[in-house]
């Protein structure tokens, strides 16, 4: 493939200390585009290989050396097309959920990987001792990382940039939480950007792989540069004209959502016991900008700049410099726990960044622990004196670092809310789907996002099908179930394209599928339209589903916590609502061509996945 891609993937076997280049055929690229799509394709092939070896993928341990970890970019990554510095990471299995591992990160690592000469990296095996990989201008080396083990994400990143004398290099690394094999561990990029969900950091740690540093001067060749330049200009103009991408996100960050979601009565509070938080203003985007913001910090090539540089100069949690927090992190650490203390949130978020943990899962697990405690289900000896009441900021900050180091009750926080709530005898208090803690929108107030959480392949996730854009930020009736199946399907398949291109999901506030075709066509030289892209997205979503079916995940797992199905929202603008999931799910399976959560033979053939 001449255009758009670097035409080179790296396969590293850490057990054998070997690496080699391989390429992906144009036929496969056309079917899966790049990024997540290619990763899913490679994982599916790997499943077949493991099965041929007689390995039962259902019982396969996510932290065994056989697990496959993939870092992937797409044709748009690293081009002048806006917001294209991102990359996607996948693992065959997540240590947190037992479903597929998947995450997407900002920063510059994705673009820098292509400049280093590669479209992606596949890692298998386990190094005997800690190692890191450098890819500088096409030259690959595996180095000893024994002395880096134990260092946090900021220390590791700056150490490697200095050592290689590459001040602007991309560094993807793990922190102490991953080294301790905490299932909530993330892979950090550029210090404060995370491949956040499903415990990918623990998979990287289980391979004794501390970091990957990438830098170079290669550039992808654009098939039709004049047409591409024109489209880049048009797309940037659209982003600059749309209030969300031109004003709201740059001025307030993603935290601008705190107030609007709360005003709709669907900001999960006290571990989802209610959707109304009377003090949400204290942790809002407006408050963050007014009292804590130092400056914006855009990712590579970004024209939006939602990233925040922040400080806390008063109260108990002073800090001179950190980044974030994002909307989801603020909600999980500060809203669901009812602490409503921005200083404490920033501190806990900082710990999650430097120790390398998923802010959503950490915050949600602490909130679940608070409800367990409220109901008297955690013995005194396990609490070790921690005052685990809702609203106690100290407990949130304390338990965050304790989770990273598996200390005391922090051990159970780090295991995630599903295992913790099972352990303490109240599994229904885990607000998770397929073991992944759900994000900051109570679906009793927007039914489509509930169907998306339930059917998400990686678990309870908003960024695989962000129907909030239509149901809360757009004009679609949020309470009806009618039409939501189709809405979810389209959002999920479109998102598969975004994560395969690979660029930023926030573009989609201003750019649609047609614009994605306008990016991909001139870059690659292909002639694809929005219909074909949506079919490719559908193919990726289905193949990912076929992988999780191999783990025994089916229709029974496409569900929501009992609270959302049975307990009426007690107060506020969404009062009285529950989620009628069965009706939407039936329609969704019908539209998808799935039977009990499994793609039918006809659908598999139709999508060319046989």
């Amino acid at each position: 493939m001449e255009f758009g891609y670097m035409n080179k993937w790296l396969k590293v076997n850490l057990t054998l200390k070997e690496f080699k280049d391989f390429s992906i055929s144009e036929d496969i690229l056309r079917q899966f585009v790049g990024g997540k799509g290619i990763a899913v394709h490679l994982l599916w092939k790997y499943v077949s290989k493991l099965e041929e070896k007689g390995i039962n993928v259902k019982d396969f341990d996510a932290l065994s050396s056989e697990n496959m970890l993939i870092f992937a970019t797409g044709p748009v990554t690293g081009t002048r097309s806006p917001n294209s510095g991102r990359h996607h990471v996948m693992a065959l299995k997540s240590p947190l959920t037992g479903s597929i591992g998947s995450g997407n990160s900002g920063g510059r690592w994705g673009a820098k990987l292509k400049f280093a000469g590669y479209d992606g990296i596949v890692v298998i095996g386990k190094a005997e001792n800690p190692v890191y990989i450098s890819i500088i201008d096409g030259s690959v080396e595996i180095h000893d990382a024994t002395k880096l083990w134990g260092k946090n994400s900021v220390e590791t990143s700056s150490h490697l940039r200095n050592k290689h004398d590459k001040k602007r290099a991309g560094v993807s690394c793990i922190g102490p939480a991953a080294e301790n094999l905490v299932p909530l561990a993330v892979i950090m990029n550029e210090e404060h950007r995370a491949t956040g969900r499903t415990g990918l950091g623990a998979v990287m740690a289980s391979k004794n792989l501390k970091a990957i540093i990438v830098e170079g001067n290669n550039k992808p060749i654009i098939a039709k540069p004049d047409e591409f330049d024109l489209k880049v200009k048009e797309h940037v103009e659209k982003l600059k004209e749309h209030h969300t991408t031109a004003e709201s996100l740059p001025n307030y960050g993603t935290a601008i959502l705190v107030n609007i979601i709360n005003q709709n009565g669907m900001l999960p509070t006290r571990n989802w016991q209610t959707g109304v938080n009377p003090e949400a203003e204290k942790i809002s985007g407006e408050t963050l900008t007014e009292e804590y913001l130092i400056n914006k910090h855009p990712c590579w090539g970004c024209v939006v700049a939602c990233g925040r540089k922040t400080k806390v100069d008063k109260g108990n949690y002073k800090i001179t410099y950190t980044e974030g927090p994002e909307y989801e992190s603020i909600w999980a650490l500060g809203g669901s726990t009812a602490i409503n203390d921005m200083g404490a949130v920033i501190r806990a978020n900082h710990y999650c960044d430097i120790f390398g943990m998923d802010t959503i899962s950490v915050g949600s697990s602490i909130a679940a622990a608070m409800e367990l405690n409220e109901k008297g289900m955690i013995p005194e000896e396990d609490l070790q004196g921690i005052d685990l009441r809702f609203g106690n900021a100290d407990a949130v900050v304390e338990l965050t670092w304790m989770a990273a180091f598996r200390q005391g009750l922090g051990f159970w926080i780090g295991e995630g809310s599903r295992k913790m709530c099972q352990h303490y005898g109240a599994p229904d208090l885990s607000m998770s789907v397929k073991g992944l803690e759900m994000p900051a929108y109570d679906p009793r107030g927007a039914k489509g996002i509930g169907l998306n959480y339930a059917t998400g392949n990686r678990g309870g996730c908003h960024v695989t099908g962000y129907t909030i854009a239509a149901e809360i930020l757009g004009d679609v009736d949020r309470f009806t179930t009618e039409g939501k199946a189709e809405l979810v399907k389209i959002f999920q398949d479109f998102t598969s394209i975004v994560n395969s291109s690979v660029n930023c999901l926030f573009l989609t506030f201003a750019l649609g599928l047609d614009e994605y075709a306008e990016m991909i066509c001139p870059v690659t030289g292909w002639d694809v339209d929005s219909d074909e892209l949506l079919t490719i997205g559908e193919r990726i979503t289905n193949l990912e589903r076929m992988i999780i079916n191999k783990f025994g995940i089916t229709g029974k797992d496409d569900t929501l916590p009992k609270r959302l199905l049975e307990e009426k929202m007690p107060e506020g603008p969404s009062k009285g609502q529950t989620v009628d999931l069965d009706t939407m799910k039936e329609e969704y399976y019908e539209l998808r061509g799935w039977v009990n959560g499994i793609p039918s033979e006809e659908k598999i053939i139709e999508l060319g996945l046989k």
Binding site: T244, T245, Y252, I260, C306, F506
Partner: protein, 80 residues
């Protein structure tokens, strides 16, 4: 009739002290539409993208009927 108005994000540039915790208390005539309220607050119709009345979606042509209604006004916002 008394109502409470809350403005968010860039709309606070005109009303910096108004927030969720400190809404603007206003007297309006019965039959006032949201479009009329928005004009009275000196906003352009285009800059107010999302209107909630007591947390439920409303449009500019809707009339404010209930005493003590909470009107939440937003520009186009997004995140995730």
């Amino acid at each position: 009739m008394k109502i409470f108005v809350k403005v968010f994000a860039s709309l606070r540039k005109k009303y910096p002290s108004v927030s969720d915790l400190n809404p603007l208390e206003m007297e309006i005539d019965k039959g006032t539409t949201l479009a009329q309220l928005i004009a009275r607050l000196n906003f352009n119709q285009e800059e107010v993208k999302i209107i909630l009345v007591n947390g439920l979606r409303a449009s500019v042509d809707d009339i404010i009927n209930e005493e003590s209604s909470i009107i939440s006004l937003f520009p186009a916002v997004g995140g995730g």
